[in-house]
Amino acid sequence: MNAAAVPVREGGMTPRVAPWRAGSAGPRTEPPGGGLHSPRAGDKIKVETMSKRILLVDDALFMRTTLRKILEGAQYEIAGEAENGQDAVEKYRSLKPDLVLMDITMPVMDGLEAARTIRSEDPNATIVMCTALGQQNLVVEALKAGARDYIVKPFEPSRVLEGVGKALAA
């Protein structure tokens, strides 16, 4: 890929009140994600994003929509979306993305099996798991399957950008 280094998020403090919550009722905390929002200008993230193409794999439309908004906000290109592991394997073959952001619990084929299949066909495939399952045994299993990082839902946008950025830079 013809990637150029584009430092898109550097310096500054992360605001204590997320902009998508400002003005709403109820107590304020900094939610690590789930909400549909773009990365904030203050996020401490430095990533190479130009021309990097990402395949989003999650059976939840909500999560694909959320991740798309976060990643497109950081100038990544979404190469495609897949709703299950089998779909992910097929789309990986045809789209050849730079990175796969993969859920684990999905119908038809789960994300771990899909990661193993993709890595068996392309040992250089860059895969980051993004799942609500945070058990240590699954993290270990995901890393053995070839995942470069493991993001637990719900997440902060900055955590997604950090995981994706580091995986692409590795």
Partner: protein, 160 residues
């Protein structure tokens, strides 16, 4: 079913709801529900498999579901369309996943199935054993957590 199985789900619900909506829920009284019961207007069903098996069901009204989806999407949800339903479904998925992570810390390592969402008041759900129920009270309305889990014996039979 052991009472201690439901606490991880309630704690996980508090944690996930706070993270995705900013609300700080409280819990209502524990109760027991029959093996077969009629769902609320919106029910998220997530299966649990492993040394304990069963279902976690999260029931709420359409109004509550719409308000939670509005908070998760940061856009007004007037009707539960595909995206809003997906948001609610993902809420159930995240709560159950975080609950199983808590169970795993107690040595009970389980997996979960993809969530499904039931709509309609007269949908009857059957569980293997009576479900323990804890209402979780949020600023968006009440969400009932129904957990029906049984230990799986070495023979494969479930023990209530």
């Amino acid at each position: 079913m052991k009472v201690e199985y439901i606490d991880p789900f309630v704690q996980a619900a508090f944690e996930v709801i706070a993270q995705v909506t900013g609300d700080q829920p409280t819990r209502g009284p524990l109760s027991l529900r029959d093996k077969s019961f009629t769902t609320q207007q919106v029910t998220i069903v997530v299966g649990v498999t492993g040394p304990v098996e069963g279902q976690a069901l999260y029931g709420m009204s359409i109004v509550t579901a719409s308000k939670i989806a509005t908070a998760m999407l940061q856009q007004e949800v007037i009707s539960l369309d595909e995206l809003a339903t997906s948001a609610i479904s993902e809420l159930g998925n995240m709560i159950t996943a975080h609950a199983t992570a808590r169970l795993a810390k107690s040595g009970i390592v389980c997996d979960i199935t993809p969530p499904s969402v039931l709509r309609g008041m007269n949908v009857e759900v059957s569980t293997f054993i009576p479900a323990l129920v804890v209402p979780v009270l949020t600023q968006f309305g009440k969400m009932e957590i129904n957990v029906s889990l049984a230990e799986v014996a070495a023979s494969g039979k479930k023990a209530a």
